[in-house]
C-alpha cells in the first residue's frame, strides 16, 4: 500500500506544533499501525531526520500507552481496539491518514504524539486502592462474590488507562476512566470499607483535571476495552450517596 501521513510534530511541551506530511510507500496490510510508524521512522532516521515520537509499550493491547487520534477517532477506525492492535488492512491503498495526539489540558504534549497522562495517576492515588493484609495470601474461597458482581467488576477492571475516553469526549471529561476504577473496587466486597471515601476523593480529584460529563456517550465506542456508560451512572449515584450516608454508623468509610 502507498499511504500519505499527516502527522502532528511538536518539538517539546508548550511550543508551537504543526502537521507534517510523509509519503509511506510499501506498507503491508498485515503490519500493525505501530509497525507502520516504525518503518516510517526507520526511513526518517536513515535520511537523517528526527523520528516521530509516539508512546508504546506492550503492543498487545494491555498497557494503555499507545493512544493516537487517527482520522478524528481515538485509536482509529476499528472499534474496541487499541492503536497497537489496529492493522493496516483497515486502510486502503492511497489513503491519507491524519495522526494527532490526545488533546486535553491535563494531558500536556511531551513531544510529537506523546502526552503525559499523569493526571490519571493522581486519580488512582486518591482512592484506587483497598486496604488488605500483605504477606500471606487469603484463603481463596473466604470471601464469596456473586458471579454477576465479579463479572461486572472484571469488566470495569479491564480499563487500561489509555485516555481515549478523555480524548474522544467533546468536554475532555475523565468520567469513563474514573468510573471504571470506582466501579471495579466499589462493586467487590474487598472494596467496601473505603467505598464512600473512594468515590468522593476520586471524583473530586478527577474534577481538578478534567471537564464534566454531558452524557454524549462518545467515550464508550472510543474505549478499546468496551467500558460501559453504566459505570458512570454507578459513580454518579455513589458520589451522591457518599455525601448522604452516615459513615460513622454505616460500617463503611
Amino acid at each position: 500500500m502507498h499511504l500519505t501521513l499527516r502527522v502532528w510534530r511538536q518539538d517539546g511541551p508548550g511550543v508551537e506544533g504543526r502537521f507534517e506530511t510523509y509519503e509511506a510507500a510499501g506498507i503491508h496490510q498485515d503490519m500493525s499501525f505501530l509497525e507502520m510508524l516504525d518503518l516510517v521512522n526507520e526511513r526518517l532516521v536513515t535520511a537523517g531526520h528526527e523520528p516521530i515520537a509516539f508512546d508504546h509499550d506492550c503492543r498487545e493491547g494491555i498497557c494503555g500507552s499507545c493512544g493516537l487520534m487517527i482520522d478524528g477517532r481515538a485509536h482509529g477506525p476499528q472499534g474496541s481496539t487499541a492503536t497497537c492492535q489496529l492493522h493496516m488492512r483497515e486502510f486502503s491503498d492511497g489513503d491519507t491518514i491524519v495522526i494527532e495526539p490526545w488533546r486535553a489540558t491535563s494531558f500536556p504534549i511531551v513531544r510529537d504524539l506523546v502526552v503525559d497522562r499523569g493526571a490519571f495517576d493522581r486519580i488512582i492515588e486518591a482512592g484506587g486502592y483497598i486496604g488488605a493484609p500483605t504477606g500471606s495470601a487469603p484463603e481463596a474461597n473466604l470471601t464469596p462474590v456473586p458471579k454477576e458482581t465479579s463479572d461486572a467488576a472484571m469488566d470495569a477492571a479491564a480499563c487500561i488507562g489509555c485516555g481515549a475516553c478523555v480524548a474522544a469526549c467533546p468536554n475532555g471529561a475523565g468520567q469513563l476512566f474514573t468510573a471504571a476504577k470506582v466501579a471495579h473496587l466499589n462493586l467487590l466486597p474487598q472494596g467496601q470499607p473505603e467505598r464512600w471515601m473512594r468515590v468522593e476523593r476520586m471524583v473530586e480529584t478527577m474534577e481538578e483535571y478534567f471537564g464534566s460529563c454531558s452524557n454524549h456517550g462518545e467515550c464508550e465506542p472510543a474505549c478499546p476495552k468496551g467500558i460501559s456508560l453504566d459505570n458512570i451512572a454507578l459513580m454518579n449515584r455513589d458520589y451522591l450517596l457518599s455525601k448522604i450516608r452516615n459513615r460513622k454508623l454505616g460500617g463503611q468509610r
Binding site: 499527516r6 502532528w8 506544533g17 502537521f19 487520534m69 482520522d71 478524528g72 477517532r73 491524519v98 494527532e100 488533546r103 486535553a104 489540558t105 491535563s106 474522544a168 467533546p170 468536554n171 475532555g172 471529561a173 471524583v203 473530586e204 474534577e207 483535571y209 478534567f210 471537564g211 464534566s212 460529563c213 454531558s214 452524557n215 454524549h216 456517550g217 462518545e218 464508550e220 465506542p221 472510543a222 456508560l229 453504566d230 458512570i232 451512572a233 454507578l234 459513580m235 454518579n236 449515584r237 455513589d238 458520589y239 451522591l240 455525601k243
Partner: protein, 247 residues
C-alpha cells in the same frame, strides 16, 4: 474568601452541605437534572393546558380563557388569588430556570478549560449527536423565546403584542400567531426545545445515576417520546392558527 486565622490554626469556613455539593461539577449535574425534571413537568403541563384552545368557546367565554383564569384562582378561597400560582408555579419555575442556567454556564466553562487547545484536524464523532452537542444553543434559543413569550402573552408588552387584552388568552394568541414572523419564532423555538429534550430527558437518568438493566433500554425511548409528544402538542396551536382551525 472567608479564611479566618486564629491561634495559628487556619480555620476555613465550610460552606453549607448542599452548597458544597453544588460547587462540584458532578453536583451541578445533579442540579441540572433535577431542575430539568421540574422544567420537563412544566412544559408537559403547559402543553396539555394549551390544548384547551381547541375546545373553542362555551357560553360566551373561551375555554382557554377560563383555564388561564383558573390558574390565577388556584387555592381560592383558602389562599388569596394568584398566591398559589406564585408560590407553587412561578417562583419554583424561575428558580429552576436560574439554577439550570447557572449550572449550564459553569459547566460550559469547565469543559472549555479542559481542552484549551482544540483538535487541529476534523473529529469523526461516533455517538455525540447533533442534539447533545447543541444543548447550550438549544437552551439559549429556548431562553430568548421565553423572554419574548412572557412579554407577548403573559405581560402584554405594547411593542411585542399591540393587540394584547388582559385575560383574553384566546384573542391574544390568535393576534400574535397571525403575524408570520412571530409564527416562525414560535415554531422554531419548539424545534429547539424538541432537540433539547431529545437529549436532556435521557441524560438526566445518567446524571442522577438511575440505571438498571431492566429499564435502561427504555431511557432513550422515553426521551424521544417525551420530546415528540410535548413538541407536537405545542406545535398544534400555531398549526391550528395557520389552518384557520383556531381564529
Amino acid at each position: 474568601m472567608l479564611n479566618l486565622r486564629r491561634a495559628g490554626r487556619e480555620r476555613v469556613r465550610r460552606a453549607p452541605w448542599i452548597v458544597s455539593i453544588y460547587r462540584t461539577d458532578t453536583g451541578k449535574k445533579y442540579a441540572m437534572a433535577i431542575s430539568g425534571v421540574v422544567l420537563l413537568l412544566f412544559v408537559l403541563g403547559h402543553m396539555i393546558g394549551n390544548l384547551h384552545v381547541f375546545e373553542g368557546a362555551h357560553g360566551g367565554t373561551f375555554r382557554i380563557d377560563e383555564y388561564g383564569e383558573g390558574l390565577r384562582d388556584l387555592g381560592e378561597p383558602l389562599f388569596p388569588r394568584t398566591m398559589v400560582l406564585w408560590a407553587f408555579l412561578r417562583i419554583p419555575l424561575a428558580a429552576a430556570f436560574l439554577i439550570h442556567i447557572h449550572a449550564a454556564l459553569a459547566l460550559t466553562r469547565s469543559n472549555r478549560d479542559a481542552r484549551e487547545t482544540k483538535y487541529q484536524s476534523p473529529r469523526d464523532y461516533l455517538a455525540a449527536r447533533y442534539a447533545s452537542r447543541t444543548m447550550r444553543w438549544s437552551g439559549v434559543i429556548v431562553l430568548l423565546f421565553l423572554a419574548w413569550h412572557l412579554a407577548d402573552l403573559t405581560i402584554g408588552v405594547e411593542a411585542v403584542n399591540p393587540d394584547f387584552v388582559r385575560g383574553s388568552v384566546y384573542h391574544n394568541l390568535v393576534a400574535s400567531l397571525s403575524r408570520w414572523p412571530v409564527w416562525i419564532l414560535y415554531v422554531a423555538a419548539q424545534v429547539a426545545l424538541a432537540f433539547h429534550i431529545w437529549h436532556g430527558a435521557w441524560s438526566l437518568f445518567q446524571s442522577l445515576g438511575i440505571s438498571n438493566p431492566r429499564f435502561n433500554r427504555f431511557r432513550r425511548t422515553f426521551a424521544h417520546a417525551f420530546a415528540t409528544v410535548v413538541v407536537a402538542g405545542f406545535l398544534a396551536v400555531p398549526v391550528g392558527v395557520a389552518l384557520d382551525i383556531v381564529s
